[in-house]
């Protein structure tokens, strides 16, 4: 098969997620309502607490990162969830596709949606709270976004693995992963305020490093973006391998059939 055929195997998931999203009125909530509400809440809180401009930037970067992460991770997980909800998993997995076709095709759409949300939040945070997200130039923004999208892919893959391993209801548990990320990766506070055990956990999460890197543009401080990037790459590779393994396992155990019923 030539490269265009191979490319279309990836784009099949992008295409499906795009059509489903554009026909779903609640997509507007995912793209506009919740992201803007989240940003406004945090922005207004900083005004009420009358915090310094450094703290404002700290919190707004965290809020925006969390919103993009949640938007994009959903798109990766949707690649399996849409099939599961419509009971059409058999039709997908009888085709000659691999786990990475599904993940990267869905992630591409997640990146498009995430970047769209990012654009809206950059404008809103600039107009309402005077925070310039692009102050450090385009390169730090791109590096930061790559980190967030890699993290989103890892969480989305984990949701898919949970469903294929434990069945339909497992997605609820898997979503709680983003709660763990919220707690320990320094979204709204520096990881140094965490108890030592949780600090150790935060150092195992790539998003922690990408947040520190991006915040260093506004508030000088140490960061280890290389380690963050290596961890993200490692988790992505391991996640893809485990996703492939969980597909094979679902075929062996018969969960693949039960997910279609």
């Amino acid at each position: 098969m030539n490269w265009r055929g191979e490319l279309n195997k990836y784009l099949a998931s992008t295409y499906k997620n795009w059509i489903i999203s554009k026909r779903n009125v609640f997509t507007l909530f995912e793209l506009f309502f919740w992201p803007i509400m989240g940003l406004l809440t945090i922005g207004l809180l900083t005004r009420f607490l009358n915090v310094s401009s450094n703290t404002v930037s700290f919190l707004l970067v965290g809020s925006i990162a969390l919103t993009i992460l949640q938007t994009s991770q959903m798109d990766v997980a949707y690649v399996l969830l849409f099939d599961m909800w419509s009971k059409s998993i058999k039709n997908t997995f009888i085709a000659p596709i691999k786990s990475y076709h599904l993940v990267f095709g869905a992630l591409l759409f997640g990146i498009v949606r995430g970047t769209f949300v990012f654009g809206i939040l950059v404008v809103v945070s600039n107009r309402l709270f005077g925070f310039d997200f692009l102050a450090g130039g385009i390169a730090p923004v791109l590096i930061f976004l790559v980190g967030v999208y890699a993290m989103a892919a890892v969480i989305g893959i984990t949701v898919c693995i949970s469903i294929l391993t434990f069945g339909q209801k497992a997605d609820v548990a898997a979503w709680s992963l983003s709660g763990v990320v919220l707690l320990v990766s320094g979204i709204y506070y520096p990881v140094e305020v965490l108890p030592p055990a949780l600090q150790a956990l935060s150092r195992a999460i790539p998003l922690t490093y990408f947040l520190e890197y991006y915040r260093s543009v506004y508030i000088s401080g140490p960061h280890n973006i290389v380690l963050g990037a290596l961890l993200a790459a490692l988790y992505l590779v391991v996640g893809l391998m485990m996703f492939a393994w969980s597909i094979e396992r679902a075929r062996r155990t018969g969960i693949m059939l039960r997910l279609s019923e």
């Binding site: 055929g5 279309n8 499906k16 026909r23 997908t92 085709a95």
Partner: protein, 310 residues
């Protein structure tokens, strides 16, 4: 000489519960299916038909046994197999909010089609399955019959050499079911596609299938052409006589070839292994009465099914 589409030897499959309890669903299935035939897998609900079709289509894997699909090993050459097969599932389901055309395009992309080849294949299937006027209707708004046609169209997208149809007419009204059967026959004939279908609807199997296998409790209890199965099981023919007047029904038991007798006043239903001689003797027994009507009914697959399901 035709090729072999499926060669299965000693296939076993069980499902383990969370606590490790194993429920055996298929036991020691061995069969060979030729590429030029429509092969039917029959059996009551829960007999393992869907599991067997899912194994043949590489959707799930057997625990034990050897399986070759289109001459390829199902363990080591899965991708090569998947490129050349497709499936139409029981109760067809597709992403709800995608239209007929969008669904076909999505699945064509999963098979690595692109550009004009993709468009041509989608358009061809829409035309072949008479879906033109529904091409922009969302899947959730289609009738059951149209969903089934979409499912068959999707199964033909990658121009497969072998397709699996899992209960293709379940839930369809009789008129649509007849049309669907005609479509299946056309797919097989015109596209030279090997067809393996599961059904618990006996007339469908009799109409479509060159050969059939009966499953019961996960085991294959018979495998042959419909006619041979009927002959092998010695099911006999049902002779139904409506009469008026005195007849000694007990005498029927002494006529060679009479297998079963069910009698009510005025009606006698006799199952016989028919020969000219025993029919003659039966008629003679009714000489003292007036025969109003005689029907002789050949056994059908329903009878085979009932016999094998016992």
């Amino acid at each position: 000489m035709s090729e072999i589409s499926v060669k299965a030897i000693g296939i076993f499959k069980g499902y383990k519960s969370f606590f490790g309890k194993n429920t055996e669903v298929l036991k020691d299935i061995t069969l060979e299916i030729r590429s030029d035939e429509i092969f039917g897998i029959l059996g009551p609900n829960g007999s393992g038909k869907t599991t067997l079709i899912s194994i043949f289509s590489t959707l799930i894997y057997p625990e034990k046994g050897s399986l070759k699909i289109l001459g390829l090993d199902s363990r080591t050459e899965k991708d090569a197999i998947r490129k050349q097969i497709n499936i139409s599932t029981a109760k067809p389901n597709f992403p709800w909010s995608l239209t007929v055309r969008e669904n076909l395009k999505h699945y064509a992309m999963l098979y690595g089609m692109y550009g004009s080849e993709l468009k041509k294949s989608v358009d061809e299937q829409i035309e072949a399955f008479e879906l033109e006027e529904y091409r922009d209707i969302k899947f959730e708004d289609l009738s059951t019959g149209l969903k089934q046609r979409l499912s068959l169209a999707k199964a033909m997208l990658n121009r497969p050499r072998l397709i699996f149809l899992d209960e293709p007419t379940t839930g369809l009204d009789p008129e649509i079911a007849i049309k669907t059967r005609q479509l299946i026959r056309r797919i097989h004939r015109e596209n030279e596609v090997s067809v393996i279908l599961s059904t618990h609807y006996m007339p469908e199997a009799e109409m479509l299938c060159d050969r059939i296998a009966f499953l019961r409790h996960g085991q294959m209890v018979a495998q042959d052409t419909p006619q041979n199965l009927k002959n092998q099981l010695h099911l006999g023919e049902r002779m139904i006589l409506h009469y008026v007047g005195p007849v000694n029904i007990d005498e029927l038991e002494h006529i060679p070839g009479v297998m079963r007798i069910k009698a009510e006043p005025g009606i006698a239903e006799i199952v016989i292994d028919r020969t000219a001689e025993n029919v003659d003797r039966i008629i003679k027994l009714f000489a003292g009465a007036s025969i109003l009507n005689i029907d002789i009914i050949e056994p059908d697959l329903e009878d085979v099914f009932l016999e094998l399901a016992r």
